[in-house]
């Protein structure tokens, strides 16, 4: 039982780490697409992982991201 709890904690921490680093950004995007766009008639085409990442990285670096 204890072990199960620990495993769950580790899983949760891993989840947070992935979210923080952007490791799961593509999965997030797919989910967003399925939730908000897939049902509509003029749904935009789903990007491939590579295309999405290219776009995501560029949009992440617009504006002030780091300071002193």
């Amino acid at each position: 039982m204890q072990l199960m709890k620990l495993m769950q904690r580790i899983k949760h921490a891993w989840h947070i780490l992935r979210r923080l680093s952007g490791d799961d950004a593509y999965e997030q995007y797919l989910k967003h697409h399925a939730d908000f766009h897939a049902a509509s008639v003029d749904a935009p085409a789903v990007l491939s992982r590579k295309e999405f990442f290219k776009y995501w990285q560029e949009s992440k670096w617009e504006g002030i991201k780091r300071c002193c």
Binding site: D23, Y26, R49, W61
Partner: protein, 683 residues
């Protein structure tokens, strides 16, 4: 019962904090344990967060949990996106915490550990964290609008333009001084230079890996990158020991400065995915990892602080930078206590990610407290060194003399014990040829960190720890340099776009090259002057950066105060008005002294006049006479730049006061630009 327990707990925290604070403030003995600083800091942060920040959130800002945030209303799955509060906290902290809180306290340690520590604690709790939190709140209520836009909407065109110009100039000065810090750490150090150089191809390799080999696998790529960086620290040691290879990386300051200038230009025009983004990943992990390691090491080791509480240099004769305790300790420690730059992050990316307004206290106020804690650790790392060693590393050759024997004699004459043998042994332990006059704060911080890590995790690895610390500082200094140059480029393109539409396009290559070159030339100039300056350059550039950063903070607080008054919360306007008042006093006094002082180590004009008199009389040695005209020109330029900063600040204040007074007299002012209420649907 539960309430009573809570009361007792908080009372205990308060008493412990008070006890720790009085121990560090009243101690006049030989040395004090660093754990007292940590205890005082943690207790003060806890109390401030639990009571002051909660009160501001509830009563002053009236944070509304039921209100939909811009992330929810404008959710587009990209920049606007409701995000878990810990994730937002991580992004926000990674964005605000740069090299500033490490360098500032190290330099300010020349006054002793006490003044800097008190300012870091009080400044953060009443100033910096308040600024970050209210800016985040007001931007969240305005769809995540930037500080410049809010200034324009709420105060007027003058405020908006001032914020824009202020941001651009502060960026130029900041990059120059950070570049100088890296140059001083690499000067005649093949180990440091080769390790720092290796970070560039490593970042590029990770960039290609992340984009083409394993697209989007961010964690996997970063793990490989971090492993390669650690390897580069080892490899630097091998290069240093090889007689044929070490000469390739053994350089004077000037060639290193040119290399950084070329690198900065390349980084600004290359696509982000190749260099900037992967470098940023690596630097963020390095930064978080090393800071945690330092905290753990300080807690395990509980080092003694050897620096006196207050040194004689409060009278303005300090070797690291000239100027009295007031106002210069408040200028030197900007980040860590209050940093205007944070207002740009708090009004940029972060408000677009907030899922609920109730997270504002933790993210705005909490992240700044953590940054302040980093500054406290930097203060500890600087003050655990023997004061004689600290001053030997940080005093420029122009002040203590070029020869080791002269420098040691001078430092001994101040009453701080240090010997040439001791410094030689230390340099040998750290794998360096010399540690004298390594100004800029990075080397002394690295020695402090290496000695803390060395005692906690093994002494025989001192040289590795030292170069690890240098690499860690260099990698995120270079990230700030890349990112800052790019931001400067975007801002310049935006401004030029008003005159020529084509120049405003961020993807138009001639415009990219032109604007990048202008920005790089701007900071490259200050970097060049800093390197040829025999007094080390840091003593000129760092105060200039401090004044600029505090000016930006004052602008952010002006915007916040104006909004509070306009929302009918005049009785709470002191929450932002008080830190604003203090910032205006310190920046104005510092600027006045930098311009008007007769002391050649403080006043820009005094220094310029002194130098031209000496040049005219022919008493300067040939090498100094050769650079004197450039230094004189630069001192004049710095004086006018300082004057400009203060004028901009007073202009914004006058504008803000005008808005407040008009509002109180019920005369028309610009309307509040807050977006109307809509209820949240998120659970």
């Amino acid at each position: 019962m539960n309430k009573n327990l809570q009361f007792i707990t908080w009372l205990a925290v308060g008493l412990l904090g008070l006890f720790a604070l009085s121990s560090i403030a009243l101690n006049r003995g030989e040395s004090i344990n660093a754990l007292w600083l940590i205890t005082a800091a943690v207790c003060i942060y806890a109390l401030a967060y639990r009571f002051y920040a909660a009160w501001i959130a509830a009563k002053v800002l009236m944070v509304d949990e039921t209100r939909a945030t811009p992330a929810e209303r404008l959710d587009n799955g990209r920049d606007y996106m409701p995000t878990n509060k810990w994730v937002v906290f991580g992004h926000h902290f990674a964005a605000i915490a740069g090299p500033g809180p490490l360098v500032g306290p190290t330099l300010a340690a020349q006054f002793g550990y006490l003044p800097g520590t008190l300012w870091i604690l009080i400044g953060a709790v009443l100033g910096g964290a308040v600024q970050d939190m209210v800016t985040l709140f007001f931007s969240t209520r305005r769809d995540g609008r930037s500080l410049g836009q809010m200034a324009r909407d709420e105060i007027g065109v003058i405020g908006g333009t001032a914020a824009l110009i202020g941001t651009f100039l502060i960026m130029i000065i900041l990059i120059a001084v950070l570049g100088l810090v890296v140059v001083n750490a690499m000067k005649h150090s093949p180990w440091a230079t080769s390790t720092v150089a290796a970070t560039i191809p490593i970042a590029m390799f990770i960039g290609i890996y992340m984009r083409n080999i394993r697209p989007g696998r961010v964690l996997e790529s970063s793990a490989i990158g971090v492993a390669l960086l650690l390897l580069s620290v080892f490899a630097g040691g091998w290069i240093d020991h090889s007689q044929t290879l070490r000469v390739l990386f053994d350089h004077d300051g000037l060639p290193l400065a040119y290399a950084i200038i070329v690198y900065g230009f390349a980084a600004a025009v290359l696509p982000v995915w190749l260099l900037l983004a992967p470098r940023d990943y690596l630097s963020t992990y390095m930064k978080l990892g090393t800071i945690m390691l330092l905290a753990v090491a300080i807690i395990i080791l509980r080092p003694e602080i050897h620096m006196p509480a207050v040194t004689q240099f409060v009278d303005g004769t300090g070797p690291i930078f000239g100027g009295k305790l007031f106002p210069f300790v408040f200028i030197t420690i900007a980040c860590g206590a209050i940093s205007g730059f944070h207002a740009l992050i708090s009004s940029g990316t972060t408000p677009k990610l907030l899922a609920n307004e109730r997270d504002i206290r933790m993210i705005g106020y909490g992240a700044m407290l953590l940054e302040s804690f980093v500054a406290i650790m930097a203060m500890i790392a600087a003050t655990v060194l023997e004061p004689g060693v600290f001053f030997a590393i940080n005093s420029p050759a122009g002040v203590v003399g070029k020869e080791a024997i002269d420098a040691v004699a001078k430092i001994n004459s101040w009453g701080f014990a240090v010997t040439v043998e001791q410094m030689n042994q230390l340099a040998k332990d750290m794998g360096e040829s010399t540690l004298f006059a390594r100004t800029g704060g990075a080397p002394s911080l690295a020695v402090g960190m290496a000695s803390i890590f060395g005692s906690a995790f093994g002494k025989h690895l001192l040289a590795l720890w030292y170069h690890f610390a240098i690499m860690f500082e260099a990698i995120f200094i270079l990230t700030t340099l890349d990112a800052g140059t790019r931001v400067g480029r975007f801002m310049l393109q935006d401004m030029l776009g008003n005159f020529n539409k084509k120049l405003g396009e961020t993807s138009y290559t001639p415009s990219v090259i032109l604007t990048s070159a202008i920005v790089v030339a701007g900071w490259g100039y200050f970097l060049y002057i800093g390197v040829i300056d025999p007094n080390g350059g840091v003593n000129i550039l760092w105060p200039l950066f401090g004044i600029a950063n505090q000016m930006l903070a004052a602008i952010a607080l002006c915007v916040a105060t104006a909004i509070l008054v306009k929302s009918g919360k005049l009785k709470y306007a002191w929450v932002t008005g008080l830190p604003l008042f203090w910032l205006v006093i310190i920046t104005s006094t510092a600027a006045y002294e930098k311009i008007m002082s007769d002391d050649v180590r403080v006043g820009f004009f005094a220094a310029a006049n002194d130098l031209s008199t000496k040049l005219g009389a022919g008493v300067l040695p040939a090498d100094k006479a050769a650079v004197a005209p450039q230094l004189i020109f630069n001192q004049h330029l710095d004086a006018y730049l300082t004057l400009f900063f203060v004028l901009v600040l007073w202009l914004v204040i006058a504008d803000m006061l005008n808005v407040c007074v008009r509002n109180c007299l019920k005369k028309p002012v610009l309307p509040l630009s807050e977006v109307a209420y809509s209820a949240t649907r998120l659970s």
